[in-house]
Symmetry: C2
């Protein structure tokens, strides 16, 4: 991972930690275009009673309305493998590259994304894994709710 | 379509019209559980500058945090065939039935949904078609933006 990629994954991890500090689910994401973060987000199920603001969705929302070209040229960095909803958003907007912190604690729709031509890079990041493992052990019901179980 | 189904599709159409009156994209949805509407929504791209509040997403958000069982027993009524993002949300939460107003002006991820066992009913509703046709003819750029083109 080059230095810029490291910095963007770190920004996603910072978002995840922010969520944790707020009492929420520690998953964070950033949307990067042209070498700059244009949207940051973290899961807000607890904080806003939201059923749709996963980290990736929150980053997309905070990036605001963007022309199609921007999404198509963007890379999404996310601490955890994207669920069906977030993967669907990636497909809707034609985001072509996704860098994933880890997929051991939860395997999202990576097969669907790859099959549609999205380039995935899984980082197997230890910090991302630890954040999720500790959270799931502490609040299994909340985690199940978030992924529709 | 039985009388209850008619009423729920009408409620989704009412949401679409509300969106249109607000200057927005005329797509509406309702989430129904146990014979009652538990969430209503319409597309809010224009009204809230939102990249993620499609009609279906807005209905899910307005239904609030629900236990997994409720989604699995629920039916989503939506005026237009659900895009990749909204289809992903349907899969995430295990919603098993979706009633669709029409899929002529836009064909969403119906094949993906059917393939995962979601029961779809397409109503070929003339009001839904007219709402979308008139809107797309008037604001093609806005429509393209909404579906990531």
């Amino acid at each position: 991972m080059d230095q810029a990629t490291c910095a963007f994954m770190q920004a996603a991890i910072d978002e995840a930690r922010k969520g944790l500090e707020e009492g929420g689910i520690p998953i964070g994401s950033v949307l990067v275009h042209d070498g700059k973060i244009i949207g940051r987000g973290h899961n807000r199920r607890v904080q806003q009673g939201s059923a749709i603001l996963h980290g990736e969705m929150d980053a997309l929302e905070n990036a605001g309305r963007q022309p199609a070209r921007v999404y198509q040229e963007a890379t999404l960095y996310t601490t955890l493998s994207p669920c069906a909803m977030c993967s669907g958003a990636i497909l809707l907007y034609g985001i072509k590259q996704v860098v994933i912190g880890e997929h051991d604690t939860f395997m999202g729709e990576e097969q669907l994304l790859s099959g549609r031509g999205v380039k995935l890079e899984v980082r197997h990041d230890q910090t991302c894994k630890t954040l999720m493992r500790e959270f799931i052990a502490r609040k299994p019901e909340l985690w199940d709710e978030d992924i529709g179980r």
